[in-house]
Amino acid sequence: MTVKEFADRFGLKPLSLPEPDREVQGGYCGDLLSWVMGRAGADAVWITIMSNVNTVAVASLSDVSCVVLAEGVTLEDGLIRTAEEKGVNVLTSDKPAFTLASEFGGAV
């Protein structure tokens, strides 16, 4: 499933979608960045409430397919531009991380 299809299917709001056709494969949930870099696989969906410039950098360097910000967390405008420039897809949802992970489970 592509990131665009993934966002549509689960009602996730795109904040930055420079690479909508990337495939989503697996997932990881966490807010400590080194854990994410150590555990999330390439093309994973990464669910987090951590929203700062380092989040965008880690998403880019770890090569995840998209970040899903839970609990209605968003990116400030400057960071949305950074994410777009770095090719990082960022989606947001009002739902908690646990609910999102349980919904995504099995689909990716």
Binding site: G38, L61, D63
Partner: protein, 142 residues
């Protein structure tokens, strides 16, 4: 093969927010040179963790990257406080980072373990009061 490409990056110790510039630049270079995506991912993460460590603990430093046909060698050099107990520092979960660093999502005690995880060889040379040099090598498999 004796010929190689060398890239030098200065890591700014003052600005935590801009940490990662060298890793992003390295990623671009490796992409341009056509290395496999997983190799790029491993090197990018190892470099980023090293960069973050230099910003958190050492007030910045420098990174030299040598790109050979069959391997890539990253040398991270700082003149920070040094690492007193390397075995302890290598343990997952051990960290001396401050609360303000932790609030940014770092300081989980996974930086050095991740650098080891994603590289084929890693060597730490450190002297307390003088600084630390970390040499990481990733071999290119064809």
């Amino acid at each position: 093969m004796s010929e190689f490409l060398n890239f030098h990056y200065d890591v700014d110790g003052e600005n935590f927010v801009s940490a990662g510039q060298a890793s992003v630049e390295l990623k671009k270079v490796l992409r341009r040179l056509g290395f496999p995506p997983e190799t790029i991912r491993r090197l990018s993460i190892a470099m980023y963790e090293g960069e973050i460590n230099m910003v958190i603990h050492a007030g910045g430093g420098a990174a030299d990257v040598d790109i050979y046909e069959d391997k890539i060698v990253i040398r991270l050099i700082d003149h920070g406080p040094g690492i007193a107990d390397i075995d302890l520092a290598m343990q997952e979960g051990y960290s001396t980072a401050t609360d303000s660093v932790r609030s940014l999502g770092f300081g989980a005690g996974m930086g050095l373990p991740n650098m080891k995880r994603y590289t084929d060889e890693m060597r730490i040379d450190s002297t307390v009061g003088e600084g630390t040099t970390i040499t990481m090598t990733v071999f290119i498999t064809k």
